[in-house]
């Protein structure tokens, strides 16, 4: 007998499960809004846990020590996640689903706000739970809100900066066209002209959204519906597509993430680079850097003025399942105080969310990119604020990647993005 009967039981398990469906609910599937959870334990005080991704530059621990010294009965424990954003996201989702009451205050990437808020996992910061937002840069508040309600407190921000070669370019370009005009300088020097991050990953969403927003388009309209089939969006995406075609963006940039593009620039192979503020510290200090003394910084170029950077950064949110929300709220307020904000900036090179700090002499002396970064963040547009962010970013990445590679026209790519995002929102 040759039939592999031994495989039958696996199938039997399937049948068994089918019969189980009748009795069981959808274990751990969709969640409903946590209305009651959001009203519970508002007065609770006691020890809490703060959850954040890897603390690269050792800013969180000293701050916690400071807090704990002042609050002996409301100690904060640090739960450190890995350094990878995807895993931080998944870890939070798992713990929220399990209604883990030990995840009291969590650090969320700005793009996760809407998703977590719509799942009913985040405590709205309103009424007694409100925080002071005066003095914060407007886009950071926008990115922390979902449907006009603040769910996450902006703690650190981030925006794109245009790095350029001071020795080759006398003055930084203000507009995209101006920058493309300067590419002849790159050709004369036999280097690439411009690069950002164009590998198919989150960074491409950042770069493609910047191109679209800078040209006056937008990914989502005010109604939260996709708004990509506009001439402005097409112009924006075409700026990148054309630059790839005519070589102003070198072909290898299609493989670039942040680090690869930084490397090319630091090795003197690029005239212009779009990247985050972290490049400044490394490009001016690393032994292998060829651009130590000729590093220029400017706001991203737009259509007729500064471009619209995508907003980065991390916010602090209070879990609806926390038992000690009053302590959690105090801790969040502590994180956004000026003193702590300043510490984040000096110790961890994290961009503050308070506008005034960008003019603080002491800080500017230490982080000379702050004035440029302020312009960048003031003009920044949050990446699409939508509970369907994972689907939206997928749609943007896949279609703009195809357009950059010349596999489809920008127009087609945008039409496909539009349809994909509509479909995501139409789910069930």
């Amino acid at each position: 007998m040759k039939t592999p009967r031994f495989l039958l039981p696996a199938a039997t398990a399937g049948v068994l499960a089918l019969t189980l469906t009748a009795c069981g609910g959808g274990g751990g599937g969709g969640t409903t809004g946590g209305g009651s959870d959001a009203e519970a334990n508002l007065e609770g005080r006691g020890p809490i846990t703060y959850v954040q991704g890897k603390d690269n530059s050792n800013v969180v621990r000293p701050l916690l020590d400071k807090w704990n010294a002042a609050h002996p009965d409301e100690q904060v424990t640090f739960k450190e996640q890995t350094d990878q954003a995807d895993q931080q996201h998944d870890d939070l989702v798992q713990n929220f689903q399990a209604k883990n009451e030990n995840y009291d205050v969590v650090s969320v990437d700005v793009v996760w706000t809407a998703e977590f808020a719509a799942r009913g996992w985040l405590q709205p910061l309103e009424g007694n739970m409100a925080i002071e937002t005066d003095g914060m840069l407007e886009p950071t508040i926008e990115a922390g809100s979902y449907q006009d309600k603040l769910y996450t407190a902006p703690v650190s921000s981030d925006g794109g900066i245009l790095y350029y070669r001071k020795d080759l370019v006398p003055e930084a370009p203000k507009t995209w066209d101006e920058m493309m005009g300067m590419c002849s300088i790159a050709k004369e020097n036999n280097i690439g002209c411009y690069a950002g991050q164009f590998k198919q990953y989150e960074g491409l969403t950042v770069n493609a959204s910047e191109a679209i927003n800078s040209a006056g388009g937008s990914v989502l309209g005010d109604d939260g519906k996709p708004n990509l089939t506009t001439p402005e969006a097409e112009e924006g995406l075409n700026n990148l597509v054309d630059a790839f075609k005519n070589g102003n963006i070198p072909a290898e940039a299609i493989t670039y993430q942040e680090e690869e593009s930084r490397r090319a620039f630091q090795e003197g192979k690029l005239l212009f680079l779009r990247n985050w503020p972290y490049v400044y510290n490394l490009a001016t200090t690393e032994g292998s850097s060829q651009v130590k003394d000729v590093l220029g910084m400017a706001a991203l170029p737009g259509k007729d003025g500064p471009g619209a950077s995508s907003l980065g950064g991390h916010n602090a949110a209070i879990s609806v399942y926390s038992k000690n929300k009053a302590t959690a709220l105090d801790f969040v307020k502590f994180l956004i105080e000026e003193e702590q904000q300043k510490f984040f900036a000096t110790q961890g090179s994290l961009a503050p969310v308070l506008g005034d700090l960008y003019e603080d002499q002491e800080l500017v002396a230490k982080l000379p990119y702050l004035p440029v970064l302020k312009t960048s963040i003031e003009n920044a547009v949050p990446r699409p604020v939508t509970p369907f962010y994972p689907a939206v970013t997928q749609a943007i990445q896949e279609n703009s990647y195809a357009a950059l590679k010349g596999e489809k026209s920008a127009e087609q790519a945008l039409a496909d993005m539009q349809k994909s995002i509509e479909s995501a929102g139409a789910g069930s």
């Binding site: 031994f6 696996a10 890897k54 690269n56 050792n58 689903q97 985050w276 972290y278």
Partner: protein, 298 residues
């Protein structure tokens, strides 16, 4: 005269034959060595790059000189540095502990199961075999959420058993299948004769069959240990600071600046976890092979 000529000729021919045989032998030996060198290059070239990068200064991470340049030990220090909350040293201990436990338990219960499957007659054997294989068919990434909920419900989150038990299940199907296939090749009549000599079935198995199966069991042990050593997905979600294995610790390495990927430290960590493992396996292998031959000669 003729006889002498004949004998010389014969000797010459014999010499020729021997020479040809020797040549063939030499040629075979040479081919073995050439192959060995090719294998060494194929296996070690990328690992070499890992080691070279591990010894480079962070500022020269992307240097592409083939030989070590800007050599430093800093990356190893960075890997073990605990001042920023890294727990690489602890994680190494955790990984060894988890790996050894997983290997020991899965081998033990795997040997039981394989013995039953290879030696005993019973109903539903095909069912059991299918069940065990079926466990290797579900996408691992989809196991995380249910396991997370299960372990949260029973309060096991972050415990060693929450990491050990899933790993046992991941390596068991392979362990059972490998051992079963090897056990079936065993000369079991030896077990019978040992029993005739007065051994119990258990003794016969331990004293006669186990030594013969040693290479298979040893190989299975390596396979099980390394799979558990490599496991990342489950551990990244189910472990905590105190119990995390090295794979998770390495994923937690962060550059001094946000967005900076600490390649050099990652490669240093890779070097640290790989080289001792290989040496350990090598030593064990020698010991076991030696033990075996000693037994056979007796």
């Amino acid at each position: 005269m003729t006889t002498t000529t004949a004998s010389t000729e014969l000797r010459a021919r014999q010499d020729k034959g021997r020479k040809a045989a020797q040549n063939r032998e030499k040629w075979a030996q040479a081919r073995t060595y050439i192959s060995a060198v090719v294998i060494l290059i194929w296996c070690l070239a990328p690992a070499y790059w890992m080691v070279v990068t591990a010894f480079r200064e962070v500022g020269f991470t992307y240097d592409t000189s083939l030989l070590p340049t800007h050599v430093t030990l800093d990356n190893f220090a960075t890997a073990f540095d605990t001042s920023f909350g890294n727990r690489f040293g602890q994680a190494l201990i955790n990984s060894v502990f988890i790996g050894v436990t997983v290997t020991a338990i899965s081998l033990l219960i795997g040997v039981f199961a394989a013995y039953a499957l290879a030696r005993l007659n019973f109903r539903f054997k095909f069912l059991v075999l299918g069940f065990i294989l079926g466990a290797s068919m579900f996408p691992g990434v989809a196991l995380i959420t249910p396991l997370f909920q299960l372990f949260t419900n029973i309060g096991w989150m972050g415990t060693y058993q929450a990491l050990i038990i899933p790993n046992i299940s991941f390596v068991l199907p392979l362990t059972v299948y490998t051992l079963t296939s090897f056990f079936r090749e065993m000369p079991w009549e030896l077990e019978e004769s040992a029993r005739v000599d007065g051994c119990t079935q258990g003794q016969a198995f331990r004293k006669v069959i186990m030594p013969l199966a040693a290479p298979a069991i040893f190989t299975t042990a390596i396979l099980a240990f390394i799979s558990s050593w490599n496991e990342f997905l489950i551990a990244s979600q189910l472990s905590n600071d105190a119990t995390q294995p090295v794979t998770v610790a390495i994923a937690s390495f962060a550059g001094a600046q946000p967005n900076q990927i600490p390649y050099t430290a990652i490669m240093a960590a890779g070097t640290i976890v790989t080289i001792p493992l290989v040496i350990l396996v090598l030593v064990f292998q020698r010991k076991i092979v030696a033990g075996l031959t000693a037994g056979a000669v007796k």
